[in-house]
């Protein structure tokens, strides 16, 4: 069981869940499971060509998967995946 942490801005698309439990051997499988569970997340994470969007940073423990083996990075049971959002707020006013 691997835990995937969902940041606040994406929680509306995961029924408010902050942590998702996944059974996956690598990052690609984990992401497929995530999208399978919450299809409305997909456009927020992937572009039209099915690639992770450049502003989406996916971390395995402390490391960006870009610095590991990308989507092929293998996952161990105790690992934790984390999506890191691009947020801009400093003093946001709700529009």
């Amino acid at each position: 069981m691997t835990i995937l942490r969902i940041p606040t801005p994406l929680r509306p698309y995961t029924d408010g869940n902050s942590e998702i439990e996944l059974q996956a051997e690598n990052v690609a499988q984990a992401m497929q499971q995530l999208i399978g569970l919450y299809p409305t997340l997909k456009p927020h994470l992937y572009n039209g060509e099915g690639e992770l969007r450049p502003f989406v940073n996916l971390y395995l423990n402390e490391d960006n998967i870009k610095d590991l083996q990308g989507l092929d990075t293998r996952i161990k049971e105790s690992d934790r995946l984390m999506l890191i959002p691009s947020i801009a707020g400093g003093s946001p006013d709700v529009p």
Partner: protein
């Protein structure tokens, strides 16, 4: 080399002087230092207050806004007596009251590609307390071009991020976020808002990092990103690496001067009229009131979040939060004229773009949102 401290300064900073890592020499370093704070809002408030109190000799403030009632929930440097006053002036007065021994320089203008290098040049460190992507990329690029540290902080609802981007010693902001999210994709507007104390936490961390950089003590957050969540009370650190292909600070940088950041981020400029979808797509609150009074069969679609209905709502409107709109198009009849609204018109503008791209033509945006309705048509509703 560093300026001397007066007896009164020694008395004022005695709690610093007692710490071996600061001491007299450290305090003199602080006095000699200069820090530019971009934005005097939620993050800039604690940053500016703590840097002033700590005795940073020269502090610059950049902001072009005035103090608004809705700022006071978190922007603690300002006060009720300062409503309508320029934020930089309000902040300067408070900082000099806290510490008259420092110098506060104010720039009552937006931070832009035209003025950024000129303003930032004479400061040692920049602190990013802005609230939008274009200015964040501008602050980053300015720091990379000038070879300065960028103490970064960002907040959203209960989440905060802190890092120190210094391209001379580690990654820059673009190494982590090569490009901003397309406007409307990340639900920053529809899901907006922030816990008032959150910028206090994050801004205080930014101030700590700035003081450490000046003093040359501890381990700055270079190459590390702190992720804070107030609900979980979690502090997570992740590693950031310099991207050799970074367009700004990589081996072969493509960007060698400041660019048009609003075009880069695809968002309108500072002078964009908030809450307007543009000519032909807007309807004013008073015009809508008249058409409803005339009995026209208009469908009112509220794209706010459910909890906002408790604050104010329009009779007979149909709620579809912006985040759900794409999945609930079947509830809408493209033959019937629709008026979309939200709090102030920004989310409904996004909703309108979404509907138009899905083939809807008979749609209009209530300019200024339900707040404009409260102001122009029904004063019994609160403005929020």
């Amino acid at each position: 080399m560093y300026p001397e401290l007066s007896h009164s300064e020694i008395h004022r900073y005695s709690r610093h002087l007692l710490i071996p890592e600061v001491g007299l020499e450290g305090q003199r370093k602080l006095k000699a230092a200069s820090v530019l704070v971009i934005g005097t809002g939620g993050l800039g408030s604690p940053v500016a207050l703590y840097l002033a109190a700590a005795g940073v000799g020269r502090i610059g403030l950049v902001d072009y806004d005035v103090v608004d009632f809705s700022n006071l929930q978190r922007q603690v440097i300002h006060g009720t007596s300062k409503l309508g006053v320029l934020k930089v002036e309000s902040a300067r007065e408070r900082m000099l009251d806290l510490n008259p021994d420092i110098q506060v320089e104010v720039y009552n203008e937006p931070f832009t590609s035209e003025n950024a290098l000129r303003i930032a040049e004479s400061y040692n460190i920049l602190i990013d307390g802005t609230d939008n992507f274009p200015t964040r990329y501008l602050v980053n690029d300015t720091c990379v071009l000038l070879g300065k540290a960028n103490v970064y902080g960002s907040i959203f609802r209960f989440d905060g991020q802190v890092s120190v981007f210094d391209a001379r010693r580690g990654p820059c902001y673009r190494c982590l976020f090569p490009e901003p999210p397309p406007p409307g994709l990340v639900p920053s507007c529809a899901e907006g808002g922030v816990l008032g104390v959150l910028p206090g936490t994050i801004g205080s961390l930014q101030a700590s990092e700035a003081l450490k950089l000046i003093l040359g003590i501890g381990e700055p957050l270079i190459g590390k990103l702190l992720l804070y969540n107030a609900l979980d009370m979690s502090f997570d650190f992740v590693k950031l690496r310099k991207n050799p292909k970074c367009k700004m600070c990589g081996e072969n940088p493509e960007i060698t001067e400041l660019i048009d950041y609003e075009a880069f981020c695809g968002v309108p400029g500072h002078d964009h009229e908030e809450g307007s979808a543009g000519a032909g797509w807007d309807i004013s609150a008073s015009e809508l009131a008249q058409r409803l009074k005339d009995g026209e069969p208009l469908r009112l679609v509220d794209v706010r979040e459910p909890h906002e209905l408790e604050i104010s709502h329009l009779e007979g409107s149909h709620l579809i939060p912006l985040g759900q709109l794409a999945a609930r198009l079947s509830e809408l009849d493209s033959a019937q004229e629709m008026i979309l609204f939200c709090k102030a018109g920004t989310r409904s503008t996004r909703a309108l773009e979404l509907l138009v791209s899905a083939g809807f033509r008979k749609v209009k945006n209530l300019k200024g949102g339900i707040n404009a309705w409260a102001k122009e048509v029904d004063p019994s509703l609160p403005i929020y």
